[in-house]
């Protein structure tokens, strides 16, 4: 899976949790840039991403994640 495919699948996970499409995800996107992305929805998004990619994140990786770029590289490392 290339990076663009990962990003598009991640975007689908965001849309499904947040129930809106008013955002564009890039490497630099953080929670502050997306309406509704906060502590709670973050946990739901993480669990949604895990299901869609059939992977399981490690708490240690999630703990230091700060933007979409970080999320994508963790996904890449798990695939």
């Amino acid at each position: 899976m290339n990076k663009e495919e990962i990003l598009s699948k991640v975007t689908e996970a965001f849309v499904s949790v947040l129930e809106h499409k008013n955002f564009q995800l890039t490497d630099e996107t953080t929670a502050a840039d997306v309406d509704g992305w906060e502590s709670i929805t973050h946990m739901m998004i993480i669990s949604e991403v895990e299901q869609r990619f059939k992977i399981k994140f490690k708490l240690m990786d999630l703990m230091n994640m700060s933007n979409i770029g970080d999320l994508i590289s963790i996904i890449e490392s798990e695939l």
């Binding site: 129930e19 709670i40 703990m63 994640m65």
Partner: protein, 498 residues
Amino acid sequence: MEFVKRLQESIEKHSDYNVLCINSTFYTYKEFAKEISKIRTTIVNTIEDSEKLIGLVTNDDLQTYASIVALWLEGKAYVPVNPEVPFERNAKVFELTETKYVIDSSERSIYIDCKVIASKELLNTEINLVPKEFSGDQLAYILFTSGTTGLPKGVPITFDNVQALVGAIDAEPTFNLEPYDRCLQMFELTFDFSVVTYLFPLLSGSCMYTIPKKAIKYFYIFKLIKEQKLTVLTMVPSIINYLRPYFSEINAPDLRYCSFGGGALHSEIAKEWSDCLPNCKIFNYYGPTEFTVYSGFYPYQKETDTKSHNGIIAIGAPQKDTLYLIVNEKNEEVGIGQTGELCLGGPQITPGYWKNEERNIQSFFTREENDKTVRYYKTGDLCLKDEEGDFLYVSRADFQVKIRGYRVELAEIEFHAKSKSDKKVNMVALDITNNLGNAELGLAIESEPFDTKEIFDYFKTKMPDYMIPGHVRFIKEFPHSINGKVNRKKLKEYFDIN
């Protein structure tokens, strides 16, 4: 006031210890004492003695915590407002309490209708932590919770109330904080649970670790447990529900105490969580804002003390000087094993809702017991008492739900939804359980689909984030029960969120 005097002694005695860790920066009790003194001097010089209720903008910084102590040394109450909550709601809080002065550490204060004390820009003064003499029936703080009529409800708490709380916790031999303790302080200061997470560490010279407002709370807590080796956790149960998928990676031998409160703690998860904390005592606390944070607890122990009802861990027995009473609809005591509304009496009870006589008549009553008149607060929680004298939570008696520990009246959400929408359609707010076992809010609208942006934009001006529904469903016709009421249980089935 004894506990304020003890605060002074503790802050002086532990001057070389750390008091707070905020965003990886440590502050000592000495630095804390300096900030308190600066703010206190300004209070004395600018605020007239008769002005007792002082606004406080709850930023995550040393000055905000120092402001609470400074106000208490002067016998004044803090009226906290969260800077992330809509301005209109906060302005309403100040209007209801007739607050004229606001202590604000923000770079620029938006509370221009009040006289603002900019607590980050004060000049150094001599350290003075000696409390003023004042009467215990003065208020120590007022907190606002969700109200059914669209207006938040004020809960005033007196110094005597807080003193009774301190006395009750002191009387509990199994819980003792030490200066080496590292304690989680994850609560917004507008949430009453925060009172125990700052007050007890301060009285013991322990260090508090806060959560930066932008952090993902759950992971940040884990980071603090792991990297800072926290020894004391005080949390709402929803935190561990979210961390549950990662329990296998958590092993925290440094933790001594873990207290839960502000929501139902489920047996299964309590057991699994307990496995992550091999040296930790777990307490399941109970108590509403109206009764000064805690009224009692159940000491959970995964092998020996696991009492529960419908999978929810017991709330145990009342603490020192507190009375629990379970009543029927006529406020008469019911027998052992029978479900009724839990009522609380004793010195921690609030004097009553702020300027809300109607609500006070509904929520408080008095009862003659052994030639004494005891005043009780009706919690709205349905409970039962077992033969060993332990109390068990059954359910809510009304439409109040807990979202991440915060009390939310579903009627308040419905009130705002209906007052904004020009479409005359029925809207019902619901609590829905997600696949991690936490409650989320949904809004069911009896209509063909339409754009709800206007309603949600309006919500954002009226309610804090946690009260804004995350899910919307349009339903052509609401299901009704036999007696004609909207069937909320059936409605919830439309919210397939997992």
